[in-house]
Symmetry: C2
Subunit: 417 residues, 2 copies
């Protein structure tokens, strides 16, 4: 993409009312726009990051055999009354609205109830199970305060997956596979090394639920890490008998601030019983379906990456989710008319594009310092400079945004990166 | 995809409370689920159709130089008060909700106001223009009645594009290009021959706006078609002086029921003046930006296709947006154990997949009649039957869902289809 064509501009300062570092950087770099506290728009660069994250998650969900759907935001009170979650006293983040005839509707903060009802229209017998559904869907949560940028929005995109099994054993086996898929997602996004499979309290059906917690100073949670075992526990689980059952020694635990980037939960029959999702087993007996749920907030994941990797100069994107892999910058020197530099840059831009390499080409008529400043702020992993010093087909000066390492490389070496 | 893996089941009857033909067919075939009147979920087959439509639109928007963004559903009253559209008396389809502190918010029924405000943070001078933004975004409209299935939802996915220009001439030129892109979209989706560029009243800034109206008995609109000119006018424009200015003779017009599948509109400075979106022109004078808007409802477009092409047996999808291109059906005969048929079918399925051909493979243990009935209802363009009569590498019996034509073809001929 030509940067002269990109409509967003960088800015020196974020908005005064923005207290979170992630939103501040993302607004300054033109990735997002703030509509109000906890409500953000995604602009072209930000949307490219979200789409990259979405594609990684989608690949891993499909590999698990999950089927993609898209449920509505508007919620029918009937099913939430059945599950006992319609009341604002039970779910304190409801946004509610009204039809013209004054009938109250909700805006989905989560989707267990409608997913279970929808699935119940397609399940009769044990032959119809197991099945796994997922969606990328906007959630609405009426948070009292919203000060964490895109990490805790009042409106945000979530991947929520739901498993429907015939037995606890079938759920357990799938749950373990889903946990591995989550591990892979966080590794692919670039935060695997600081993300811990974390034991949290489990509710009625299972002893534990599990969170994926990423160590980060901007986190709202605390976890206690057993580095040797690569697992962690949260506050709820910090009891001697529970730690013992997990084979964890309290003295070895390291306390860290962290962000919950994913959670997985065995509901069992919690929602299926209440909403009547049953199946006929092999012996002809009607049984409730055994259910689990698995969530990842895409904005929260993106915000976590920002908080972890950004430095004093701006954003730093891991390659897998960066809006572009290369930032091609043409620099026209003092006495230079720029014609030959531009010709070189366009040729390289065309070659990268025709090789399927994503590249943002800064073709703007600006001073080198401004271009480099913008480039650091936007945070694309590899910067290539084309100037009057560059020969045909290179070598080109390539700089790594994260390490600052600079090297001279040929076109072929760039394509191999 | 293996049909045994697809979790949705077909059904003989749609829900009793569903009065629209499109939703009825789509529910029976397992493409959508009804949450409540005017609110539908998209299930795997339906979501594939929506994604195909989305990709066609995205390609045409990108070819116009438009940049994709994603704005929030939650709406800040401040900007809608500025434009005079916050009141329910002015916009009668608002859904409104409240923050915990009782501040009212809206749910976006359209996005001119937030788009104009967002863009105003990135435009200073004539050098920043023109620019074009678009999004695929969920709209919420509190319709009094909602009886047209996915053609008029209370919640629906819309592509809305916005143009920001320096002059009326620049807007006019882009508007004409956008109209051509729309024409191409409707042609690619498969309804070009019955879709008419239709003159509608234009509001304050321009004499006309334009609708793309598709002739269909299930339509809620009426248009008057000049077949020779391939244009139409709507009720508002049926006045002798206006017809004359368009060079249209009333006596030549044919009245038809139709569905508005797209609309394009020159707003001029209607929103930019009110929200302060100005630019500095080449002479250093501040000018309001000249704005246009261009909408297509994806569900409405999908519903229109259903209404037009469905027959007594079920859905009929045009190839470009069909959930799969081929429906591979294995039929195990009377004395047959099925092993050799299944082997043949799996081999063909693998060959089609490895050639990048999308195929739904009915590997279920059902009678031929049930499989054919489901296949007709789901409406995939080409049906391939593998039975004990099929030899290795064919020839295969292939049937066209739309025309009913049956022919025997080889694998290579299938790949060429």
């Amino acid at each position: 993409m030509l940067q002269s064509h990109l409509f967003t501009k960088t800015r020196k300062e974020g908005p005064k009312n923005e207290v979170s570092a992630n939103a501040n950087f993302l607004i300054r770099a033109g990735f997002i726009h703030k509509e109000m506290a906890g409500v953000y728009d995604y602009l072209p660069l930000g949307l490219r990051v979200i789409e990259n994250i979405r594609n990684i998650i989608r690949e891993e969900m499909n590999a698990l055999g999950c089927q993609e759907v898209s449920l509505s935001a508007l919620q029918d009170p009937e099913i939430w009354n059945k599950s006992g979650r319609w009341s604002d006293d039970v779910v304190d983040v409801w946004f509610k609205t009204k039809l013209k005839n004054d009938v109250l509707l909700g805006l989905g903060a989560t989707h267990e109830e409608p997913m279970v009802r929808m699935v119940s229209e397609h399940v009769r017998s044990y032959r119809d199970l197991p099945l796994y559904t997922y969606q990328f869907q906007t959630k609405f949560r009426n948070e009292l305060r919203s000060k964490s940028g895109i990490m805790r929005g009042r409106e945000f995109l979530m991947k929520d997956m739901y498993s429907f099994c015939r037995s606890e054993a079938e759920l357990d086996a799938f749950y373990d596979k889903a946990a591995l898929a989550y591990k892979k997602i966080f590794e692919r996004v670039g935060i695997g090394d600081r993300t811990y499979f974390t034991f949290a309290s489990g509710g009625m059906f299972s002893k534990f639920s599990h969170e994926f917690q990423t160590v980060c100073g901007a986190g709202e949670d605390f976890i206690y890490i057993d580095e040797e075992k690569r697992i962690a526990v949260n506050d709820e689980v910090m009891q001697d008998d529970i730690l013992k059952s997990l084979g964890i020694e309290r003295s070895k635990l390291r306390k860290e601030k962290s962000i919950e980037v994913g959670n997985i939960f065995k509901y069992g029959t919690r929602y299926t019983k209440e909403l009547g999702l049953n199946f006929m087993d092999e012996d002809g007996n009607e049984q409730p379906v055994i259910n689990g749920a698995y969530g990842i907030g895409l904005g929260r994941l993106m915000g976590t990456v920002v908080e972890i990797f950004a430095d004093a100069k701006g954003l730093v994107w891991p390659e897998a989710i960066a809006p572009f892999k290369f930032h091609l910058i043409e620099i026209v020197g003092g006495g230079d008319t720029g014609d030959s530099v531009r010709k070189e840059a366009i040729e390289l831009y065309d070659k990268l594009n025709s090789n399927g390499v994503s590249v943002l080409y800064d073709d703007r008529d600006l001073r080198a310092g401004e271009k480099f400043g913008d480039s650091d702020l936007i945070g694309i992993p590899w910067r290539i400079v084309v100037s009057s010093k560059t020969g045909t087909d290179g070598p080109y000066e390539v700089k790594n945004r994260k390490t600052g390492e600079v090297k001279m490389v040929t076109l072929n070496e760039i394509l191999e990166l």
